[in-house]
């Protein structure tokens, strides 16, 4: 009987598919796999792609997610070396490092793995915090802070316990919450208020102090400027006096005339304005009224 080639091809394709289902499996890029033969561990597959196997029930394939899983531990209270209660929550990124151990430890169950991880991380966290002071966690002094070291110490402590035992590796571990117990927060608030009141007083008095200094400096500066100007003016006048004294030399030729002229000038200047003159009959030129010349004799008030 002559066979139709399409029928043959279709049958062959179906046969190949069936064979593939029985004898092969694929490991996705995100996965690792463990192959067991009659229930006993055979080998692990960590490379993604097409893999061969013997059909069930001879061999069985377990596939696990090999990606980094995010694990979050709820906060709990722990005590620092200097006896301060702190509230700390940590997160971890973990992945399967040894598929065989992971299968044996947790039967491939991720939830069970995280349930096991939780106390391990909690113990590591408490252990590390208890060996550090509160100021190692928070401080404005960078040299005093050990935040990174504390996180690394926690990671090392967890890693040492779980990798060899459970086939799980921690890729990252960090603090994701850091706080204080409820009752302590109210104490902190009181301290913060007191600190702010101190700052208020400080800012006001500092403003007052600096304002006073600024005013006093300004006054001193102004006085200095005026004093310097007065000094300079006196110096200029002194120079003028020195220069004028050269002209005074001329008066030596006849001091009597010089004094007379100066007195005349003084008389004229002093009686220039708002003066009351009380004149007697002896006062020149009123002495003319008496018919005889005479010298001055007047009372003058200015």
């Amino acid at each position: 009987m002559k066979r139709n080639p399409i029928t043959v091809f279709t049958a062959a394709v179906l046969l190949v598919i069936f064979a593939c289902m029985l004898f092969t499996f694929q490991v996705r890029q995100t996965e690792v796999a463990v192959v067991t033969t009659f229930g006993r561990y055979s080998h692990s597959v960590t490379n993604a792609g097409f893999q061969f196997r013997l059909p069930w029930p001879i061999q069985k394939v377990y596939q696990f997610d090999h990606r980094v899983q995010s694990f979050e531990r709820k906060f709990d209270e722990t005590i620092t070396k200097d006896q301060i209660n702190v509230i700390i929550a940590v997160y971890a990124g973990w992945r399967i490092a040894d598929p065989k151990l992971f299968l044996e430890s947790f039967n491939g169950d991720t939830t069970r793995a995280e349930q096991t991880l939780e106390p391990v991380i909690r113990n590591a966290k408490s252990g590390v915090i208890s060996t550090n002071n509160f100021s190692d966690l928070i401080s404005t002094n960078q040299a005093e802070l050990k935040f990174d070291q504390i996180e690394k110490a926690m990671l090392d402590a967890v890693q040492a316990q779980i990798k060899q035992t459970y086939g799980v590796a921690i890729e990252s571990l960090g603090i994701k919450q850091l706080g204080l117990p409820e009752s302590i927060t109210s104490t902190v608030f009181e301290r913060m208020r007191a600190e702010r009141q101190r700052l208020v007083a400080g800012y006001l008095s500092e403003g007052e102090r600096r304002a006073k200094i600024t005013r006093a400096d300004a006054d001193a500066q102004a006085n200095k400027i005026l004093a310097e100007a007065s000094g300079e003016a006196k110096r200029i006048l002194g120079e003028a006096d020195a220069k004028a004294s050269q002209y005074y030399e001329a008066f030596r030729k006849n001091p009597d005339l010089a004094i007379f002229l100066m007195q005349l000038n003084a008389l004229e200047q002093s009686l220039k304005d708002r003066a009351y003159l009380i004149l007697g009959p002896q006062t020149a030129p009123f002495n003319l009224l008496n018919g005889a010349p005479g010298d001055a004799g007047a009372g003058v008030r200015k």
Partner: protein, 380 residues
Amino acid sequence: MDNDASPPGSKHDPTSAPGAPQPAAAPGPAQGAEDASAEALSEALRSSFNIVKMLMGALVVAFILSGVFTIKSNQVAIKLRFGRVVGVGEGQLLRPGLHWKLPYPVHEIVYVPVGESHTVTSTAGWYSQTPEEAASGQKPQPLGMLRPGVDGYTLAGDGDIIHARATLTYRIGDPISYVFNFANATNLLQHILDNALFYVSARFSADDALYRNKLAFQEAVQARVEKLVEQLKLGVKIESGEVRIDTEPPVDVAEAFNNVIKAQQQGDIKIQEAETYARGATNKAVGDASVILRGGLTASNNLVTTVAAEADRFAKLLPSYEADPGLFKRRFLADRMGQVLTNAQYKIFLPERADGKPWELRLQLSKEPEIRKKESPKTE
């Protein structure tokens, strides 16, 4: 399928083979009808076969077309062959455009939106707020304390409590790592952002984090996030300035912080007033000094000029004086007295009394009014 659809009569035509044995019965009308129905059936089968062939061809075309897929402009895609990434290096990423794949399980396509920006917000250090309260900007009532697990806050380096919130915007930088190495990269990034917020708060004083150095706080959070992302090779790309920080004092102590700001402003105002006064005083002093100097200069010039003029006058008058000093004096005195008497406001002449006794004059002098200067308002 058997190919025996030759035309009826071509095989068993009785007229074509005279020596052949004759059939038991001669073909009648029934035989003719049977041949016709067989021929119709054969024709129907042939037509059906053609339809099936066309359908199969269409299926093949549909199969080929079903493998065609497009990648949008803001995406890249990764092709997996039997679960393994196809290609090496940059060749692992399929760029936007038209592509073709075989059906699952041979090929699988993973789309990664590399052009989209994603946002992660850390509220681990922020107070408890419903979305409605957040939208209206309403703050919680002060309770005198903060409850762990309910009220988020961070501890500042000086031991103070502050509220801090961070928002991170990122893009996927390494799609292979982001998709295939992390079960939930966004969740891990959220933890990293929380960590960065507490890490940076722990080294900034509350005043720095809240007011004085907010920008440095923000930069430090971004630096911490970038460092942790790099360590983990998370495959995300954070541009500069894509971490935004909000910080606030707790509502219980907000008034105390406000008072500090007010006091700071009042102190600054006092200093500014003093500086204004200082500038005024200095400028006034400079002006007064200028007046004094000019006065000095003027006086010195006047002095020298006057003395020089007097010396000149003296030299000119000296010969006259030496000729007759008495006459000279009386002449000049009389001349000056004339001027003095002209200028004087009040002149009283007391002639000699008939009894020869001197006059007794009584003067009532009232104090001259002083022109009081207007007092300038005090600046202090």
